[in-house]
Symmetry: C2
Subunit: 303 residues, 2 copies
């Protein structure tokens, strides 16, 4: 599991979740046809699939020495990976709406409400969310693990997780947040779902309590690192590289790690979090290496 094979591991697992989403989203010719096509447009339009990769990497940590994951566990990881991507996709669709961020461009293509209309975009998001829970309910693993997974995802997606963070983000426009407030907002808005993705991989693959502990520490560092990297990218990249409108947060007077700390200090914070992630997975031995590589990828990505 050297550094060199990480890109091919990532490509392979991105392909797995794409196939899962492609196969488990309602068919484009199933009624209501336009709604289902819009759901597929929202979900299948590329994306880095970082959350799915976290599910897989965390799940594969639980491979016991010598043995691999069972076919049922592999299918369950596919469903869990698809579920977190559905939640992420729905949140982007709603976030792009005029009453929220009012964005026209996402992943280099028109946003859902631009390609279709606002009502469709709202309903696409509303339908993707239960689809995620349906995928979890259909995992071929012990019902007790499914129940834990549903509770985990529901909390992360809800008012004390992702949606709560979006709310705080909305009402913070133009306000001067403290470092602590900014961190708390992002811990909910982005961190909760990244963290849930990691823990979900562990739950689905039957992680031991020692493994779960390491995954929790790792998740905490990665959750923040992701947002710091995102804010740095938003500040330095151009729209073409980013595939979405660059500099938008600063223009909207939204607080970011960069506006708060400056570019250099934000970079140092990011490097510290990256190292903390590596530290966290050290007890997992060789199986944890993939999670370390994924942390590097998240901290050092350029789009």
């Amino acid at each position: 599991m050297g550094q060199a094979d990480f890109p091919s591991w990532l490509a392979q697992h991105v392909q797995r979740v794409e196939a899962a989403l492609e196969g488990w989203l309602p068919a484009p010719d199933a009624e209501p046809v336009v709604l289902h096509q819009a759901m597929r447009y929202a979900v299948l339009g590329g994306g880095k699939r970082v959350r799915a990769a976290l599910v897989y990497a965390a799940g594969e940590v639980c491979i016991t020495s010598g043995g691999g994951l069972s076919p049922a566990q592999r299918t369950a990881l596919d469903r869990a990976a698809a579920a977190v991507e559905l939640i992420h996709a729905y949140s982007l669709v709603h976030d792009d709406l005029p009453c929220m961020d009012d964005d026209d461009l996402r992943r280099g293509r028109p946003t859902v409400h631009k390609q279709y209309d606002e009502a469709t975009a709202m309903l696409v998001g509303d339908a993707l969310q239960p689809q995620a829970f349906e995928l979890l309910a259909q995992m071929p693993i012990a019902p007790a693990l499914i129940v834990q997974s549903v509770e985990l995802l529901a909390r992360a997606a809800g008012s004390v997780g992702m949606v709560g963070g979006q709310f705080v983000d909305c009402v913070s426009v133009g306000l001067a947040l403290t470092d602590e407030q900014l961190q708390s907002m992002h811990a909910m808005k982005t961190g909760a779902m990244l963290q849930a993705s990691i823990l979900l991989g562990g739950v689905v693959a039957g992680a031991s309590s020692q493994q779960r502990g390491a995954l929790e520490d790792y998740a905490e560092a990665v959750g923040i690192a992701f947002q710091v990297a995102d804010d740095i990218l938003d500040a330095v990249a151009d729209t073409a590289t980013l595939g979405k409108t660059a500099g938008k947060d600063a223009a909207a007077n939204k607080p970011t790690y960069v506006t708060l700390l400056g570019l250099e200090t934000a970079g140092q914070l990011l490097e510290g979090l990256r190292k903390a992630a590596h530290e966290a997975v050290r007890p997992l031995g060789v199986q944890g290496a993939r999670l370390g590589q994924l942390a590097d990828f998240i901290a050092q990505r350029n789009h």
Copy 2:
């Protein structure tokens, strides 16, 4: 279980679900405070709680002769009843938004986006949905029954259920639907969640396959009856009685059972469905009587 005690049974169970919602929604002083207050405003503002009553009545069918439901089963029914009301409440909040029905009034009070703003209303709906699945995951019953419940609710709330029906409703404005198309739209939009409420009660309380069969037949009749009654009310009641804008569907040129069939034929259809509901629960014996009374209530309500 005579006719006379139905109003007190209903009042008692409405009280139970109100207490469940009150207790299980995030506290009004929990962060983010305004989001949580808006969620409570959306959910706790009254409402007939028909879906919750269906969960309870269907669950109580499974009482074996002599014995009652266990405390765990009663708590599970409370959670399931609260869950379907959360899904219903979120759908109303989103449905009232300007990009959908654009309604200012709901249950005699300003709609959520009027009382707060559009972004808050969207996020309230987005947060209520996972809260429903969290409540199901926390039911103190066998995990396998929880998994069935999650799958049932997810399908009913999703693109081939409630949200699919709302989509078809949206794109049908101004179109002449056939009887069959109208019935299919309502079977998704309203019927799916009513049906799920009934089946959920059965699943949670451990219904036998014979009991489930009867509940399914009952659910089919009641799902349609509810919408026919709603359309008749919209046509004949005034805004004050209704607590929402009356005659709105007809004014928006939305097809209804009344515009399609005329008032008299719609009334005959409703009476036929009411009788079919009674017929369906006959095999359940005395335990089914409550479901029959609930069907009468749904068909004969005047607000």
